[in-house]
């Protein structure tokens, strides 16, 4: 198959074939990402990085990906060090950086920014998160992590936990998982349930979804616990927040005797206890590493296909 996407904006642009192609290519990138092999396929190429909103982990992961393939990066890490504070509009900045680079990665707090950026420049654009919108490279690295850690995506039972209402990561992940033969559980406080529209879409494509408020009820049967943070701002009453937070906290004692892995998009605050880190359950640091080969696969694919 041919992967012919020029821009990486939303997981909804991906077919299952596209996803599988990127996951296969990511596997080939892994030895290079681990510094066991060398590559210069993107030698001489420059990645323009426009991070209007800080995200150290995502930014460094893209930088590592580009450099592992022999390329280099330019850009800024926060809006206040760019000309954005001087009133220059986004359109002009994106167009100028496109003149200097072979591809652009953009992160911004407004939804639709990456799609818009891709419409004003010729070079490929990757969305590294647009407000509450899309963050497709996170979704792809989540899928790749499952495939590498458990050997497959089909037949898995994935439980998404925490803030399912506002969490963009879990929304994209749910849609992407729905392309595979998986079982999903949504575990959240009633106030932060998965939006009805998404559950409806999933049912429509024949995915069976189990919704619950009780984390204990899914532990036995689940392969992946995908944990997200419940933000304080969602609860006006601090006592209520403390109670809810406690009920969805993951620690080693909770996981004992289960046969699952714990994933998290990071950064975490206290939703996963440190005592999980060095157990067979805690896989979130490996998950973070897998972001590098996945982003290498994406950068190689779009830069090479843009040249043709």
């Amino acid at each position: 198959m041919v992967f012919d996407q020029k821009n990486i904006i939303s997981i909804s642009d991906f077919s299952k074939d596209d996803i599988e192609y990127i996951l296969r290519l990511s596997e080939k990138m892994e030895p290079i990402a681990r510094s066991k092999k060398r590559s210069n396929v993107l030698s001489g190429k420059i990645l323009g990085m426009l991070f209007y909103e800080p995200s150290t982990r995502t930014r460094l992961s893209f930088e590592a990906a580009m450099k592992r393939l022999g390329g280099s990066t330019i850009g800024f890490a926060e809006a206040n060090v760019s000309s954005a504070t001087k009133g220059e509009n986004l359109t002009d900045t994106v167009k100028i950086v496109a003149e200097y680079s072979d591809a652009i990665v953009i992160r911004h707090n407004m939804e639709g920014t990456a799609r818009f950026a891709s419409s004003v420049v010729d070079v490929p654009v990757i969305n590294a998160g647009d407000g509450a919108g899309q963050h497709p490279t996170q979704t792809l690295l989540d899928l790749y992590s499952m495939k590498r850690l458990l050997g497959r995506i089909d037949d898995l039972h994935v439980a998404l936990i925490g803030d399912l209402k506002y969490g963009r990561t879990v929304h994209s992940l749910a849609y992407a998982l729905a392309m595979f033969d998986v079982k999903m559980s949504f575990v959240s406080p009633p106030e932060l349930e998965m939006p009805r529209g998404i559950v409806h879409d999933l049912n429509k494509v024949g995915v069976s979804v189990n919704e619950t408020n009780d984390i204990h009820s899914v532990l036995e049967d689940t392969d992946v616990l995908y944990v997200t943070r419940i933000q304080k701002e969602r609860f006006p009453d601090p006592e209520e927040y403390a109670k809810i937070k406690g009920a969805y906290m993951i620690d080693k004692a909770l996981l004992e005797d289960s046969d699952l892995i714990v994933m998290h998009p990071l950064p975490r605050v206290d939703e996963i206890s440190y005592d999980v880190d060095n157990t067979k359950y805690g896989k979130y640091f490996e998950q973070a590493f897998y972001g590098v080969p996945v982003r290498m696969a994406l950068l190689k694919s779009i830069i090479e296909s843009y040249e043709k």
Partner: protein
């Protein structure tokens, strides 16, 4: 005494008659079409009894023949509307409005945090993803816009 039809809405000599507009939507239709304008006089009839759709609105535009492309925009709020082109009091062309797959530049995204609601040079763009009920998706932020969101928009300003 029976009221002659002509008294309800005056016939026009040259121009366009938009009939079968969903009742009480005539003003929204005019807003979408940018009417009335300098060269076109407009007559409106609202809440007229109709054999087909119960009640309807009618808009008559004297002096301007509307192109079907521009009229299709009104399908968003008046999906059953029909277009009649009039020359010398005779109907010379008839057509139905057609909902397009894309609606560009007409609507404002209901998401305040959407890039189209900034002063960047970007024109709003929506894909029609469902018709019954009407649902549109913003091309940029992917937010779904429903009938209700759209109504509030036409009521404003």
């Amino acid at each position: 005494m029976k009221t002659p039809r002509e008294l309800k809405v005056k016939p026009i000599r040259n121009g366009t008659v938009i009939d079968h507009i969903t009742a009480n939507k005539a003003l929204h239709v005019l807003k979408i079409l940018g009417l009335p304008s300098k060269e076109a006089a407009v007559t409106i009839a609202m809440n007229v009894k109709s054999a087909h759709i119960g009640a309807k609105d009618i808009v008559k535009i004297e002096g301007r023949e509307l192109q079907s492309r521009e009229v299709d925009k009104i399908a968003l709020i008046a999906p059953n509307a029909t277009i009649n082109i009039v020359r010398e009091y005779e109907i010379v062309g008839k057509g139905k409005v057609k909902l397009l797959n894309n609606v560009n530049g007409l609507l404002i995204c209901p998401n305040p945090n959407c890039i189209t609601n900034t002063n960047e040079p970007v024109i709003s763009k929506f894909h029609v993803i469902d018709t019954e009920p009407l649902m549109l998706r913003c091309y940029y932020c992917e937010r779904i816009m429903n009938n209700k969101d759209m109504e509030t928009q036409f009521k404003q300003n």
